[in-house]
């Protein structure tokens, strides 16, 4: 029995045979060829065989990982049809070089040209050119590809490291876990393992490559330990661990589908921030009870003209259908001069984050805004859609938006098209002015959703992406907590619910305070939902109210954090 130690990258226990993945590196030897025509024929045959393999790999990838990754292999095939690359190689073969050397030289020449360009996309293509070159070299050498696609029984994948094109062809149903020699917690293997919920150890050193094909190993992704040739006693202990882990994983998945109710019986609504129908589906799996923020920017970026009402309608309807009767809050266009949107004529601004953006653009371009409103109103027929306005600073902006919403309704009824007759209209509270005057705004809206990321940046006047000032940014700073309290109190005074849709909603240090302040809805990235629900179930609302009172009266974010952590170790305190 032998034990190897690596970096724990994804929790859980796996026991099973190792599938050791050695991508074969082919060494190229130079020799002089007398019959250049025969060598050319050998080269062409290898290229044809490689193209056939790529068609096959592309088909497998299409089935297992989808068309985006599969498209990589189509690009590989185009490289093998490229006349300038083929000419360069053929010329070398005619000059008496063997096919392997000619190929390696040609590949290196073009890969170097791509790698030298000042463009990250093209630099990545250099890796693709090398990849395709290795494939042809393998065919020339008659070496069979030991691809991850050849896993046909459950196994633990052992490798130096794994790239997206390695895992693209892997049948994830049959993989029990990952163990790699190199890589860290943010390597592709680690991220993939966490995403699909499999145990993984990375950076365990080159010894892992000594593991024999088919040898039984134990992987403990929680401790980072891999056990080779385990004895029966160890095996039976780890079998019990695995059963417990699988049960816990299933329980967590199941528990995430249940509501978040505190010990003393108060329920909080937990919803997701999403960008499209695909992420809506995964949000449901993580236990989202609806959508607290549907970003609509994806419809407007990377294109030459504004999306039509029909296109927007179909996109919103697709999300609505996934969510069924659950609420979906659609945020209207939230774009500014920091993004290139050619058809909006945004221009260059000295201060795009204090400039012409979000609702300011929508109100200045009523046709653009009403097109979006009509699309949302139509998609809302029969579903529970709500409209949220970003970057509201003043009351008059809400009134103008309401007028345009009325016009949009009017236009739809004149067209005799079905739409949601009554739809809730709320605002993002992300500018300090809106938070401070939330008592004036509350009567005009149906809900508030506090955008804590921007509220924190604007209140503390710091750009969190600027490393020199990012230290100022902390959503647990008492100034932010006081603004949040103001918004919640003013909302509730007028019978309006209040949510948070920034990262703060999923921050385990912030959740107890937000519960204590009486927040109604927490909207966050889907993956943080199970942990949030599980935390709320351990809390007592009465105790959290006292905690909230305490933290509002300290001076720093650090003090807030230490009070929260002290309370968390004793949730009933």
């Amino acid at each position: 029995m032998q034990s190897l130690k690596g970096i724990p990258a994804s929790e859980g226990i796996a026991i099973g045979p190792a599938f050791v993945y050695h991508p074969v590196a082919i060494s190229v030897e130079r020799h002089v060829v007398a019959d250049t025509e025969a060598e050319l024929a050998r080269f062409h045959a290898a290229v044809e065989r490689s193209k056939e393999q790529l068609v096959q790999v592309q088909r497998e990838a299409q089935a297992t990982v989808g068309s985006n990754t599969a498209a990589i292999f189509e690009a590989h095939r185009m490289f093998l049809e490229d006349p300038t690359l083929l000419d360069a190689i053929e010329e070398r073969i005619r000059g008496g070089q063997n096919a392997e050397v000619a190929l390696a030289d040609g590949i290196n020449l073009f890969a170097a040209m791509l790698a030298a360009l000042d463009d990250s996309y093209l630099r990545e293509r250099a890796a693709d050119v090398h990849d395709v070159g290795q494939r042809v070299l393998r065919v020339l050498a008659g070496v069979e590809e030991k691809a991850l696609s050849s896993i046909h029984t459950p196994a633990i994948v052992v490798a130096q490291d794994l790239t997206p094109s390695d895992t693209a062809q892997m049948n994830k149903e049959l993989v029990l876990g990952f163990c790699t020699a190199s890589g860290g917690t943010t390597s592709h293997t680690a991220i993939l393992a966490r995403m699909i919920g499999l145990p993984a150890i990375v950076g365990a050193g080159d010894q892992v490559l000594q593991i024999q094909q088919g040898e039984t190993i134990i992987l403990d992704g929680t401790s980072g330990e891999a056990i080779l040739a385990p004895d029966d006693a160890t095996l039976s202990i780890y079998r019990e661990h695995r059963v417990a882990w699988v049960a816990a994983r299933e329980a967590a998945k199941g528990a995430a589908q249940l509501p978040a109710v505190t010990r003393d019986g108060h329920r909080f609504e937990i919803v997701a921030n999403i960008g499209d129908a695909e992420s809506a589906k995964s949000a449901l799996e993580f236990g989202a009870e609806g959508v607290g923020l549907l970003r609509t920017e994806f419809l407007f970026l990377d294109r030459a003209a504004m999306p039509s009402e029909e296109e927007q309608y179909r996109a919103y309807l697709e999300v609505a259908k996934v969510m069924g009767k659950r609420p979906v809050i659609v945020r209207t266009l939230d774009i500014g001069g920091d993004k290139p949107v050619p058809y909006l004529n945004l221009g260059q601004e000295a201060n795009p984050f204090l400039g012409w953006r979000a609702i300011r653009i929508s109100l200045a371009q009523p046709e653009l805004f009403k097109t979006q409103l009509r699309a949302i109103l139509r998609a809302g027929a029969g579903y529970n859609l709500k409209i949220m306005l970003p970057m509201i600073a003043t009351l008059s902006e809400i009134k103008q938006a309401r007028r345009l919403l009325d016009e949009a309704r009017q236009e739809l009824s004149e067209r005799r098209i079905e739409f949601a007759e009554s739809i809730e209209l709320g605002i993002m509270v992300e500018i300090p002015s809106a938070a401070i005057t939330s008592d004036l705004l509350a009567p005009e809206v149906d809900f508030f959703s506090i955008g804590t990321n921007d509220l924190t940046q604007y209140t503390l006047a710091c750009d969190r992406t600027n490393t020199r000032v990012a230290g100022l940014y902390d959503h647990l700073h008492p100034c932010i907590l006081r603004l949040i309290r103001t918004v919640i109190e003013n909302g509730h005074r007028f019978g309006k619910w209040v949510g948070v849709c920034g990262e703060m909603a999923g921050d385990l240090d912030a959740i107890p305070v937000l519960v204590g302040l009486g927040l109604d809805e927490f909207s966050m990235s889907a993956a943080t939902i199970p942990a949030t629900k599980s935390l709320i179930r351990q809390l007592d609302l009465g105790a959290m109210r006292e905690l909230a009172e305490q933290v509002l009266n300290v001076a720093t974010a650090e003090q807030v954090r230490s009070l929260v952590r002290a309370a968390a170790t004793n949730p009933r305190a």
Partner: protein, 89 residues
């Protein structure tokens, strides 16, 4: 010989999928087709050549075709570029 000056307007320029579509279209013609930007010239039927041209959004390129179907070739490539490679309007 047929020649045309044209501006690339789509978001990513002659990269990725648009570059692949451009090369596929060029391959459909018998004529020799060159695409040049500044003082660099690429074979329009070579994906690697076209990629290394670095023709991003807003680049002015010149298309030159010579052969029996040169007019059709220039017309087809012009349409493709002007359609922004089918990216949604």
């Amino acid at each position: 010989m047929q020649e045309l000056n044209i501006t690339i307007r789509n978001k990513v320029g002659l990269h990725a999928r648009p570059a692949a579509l451009f090369v596929k279209a060029a391959k459909g013609f018998k004529s020799k087709i060159l695409v040049s930007k500044d003082n660099r010239v690429a074979d329009a039927k070579s994906i690697l050549n076209v990629l290394t041209l670095g023709a991003g959004q807003g680049a002015n390129v010149t298309l030159r075709a010579e052969g029996e179907d040169e007019a059709d070739a220039i017309g087809a490539l012009k349409d493709l570029i002007e359609s922004n490679f089918g990216e949604p309007e």
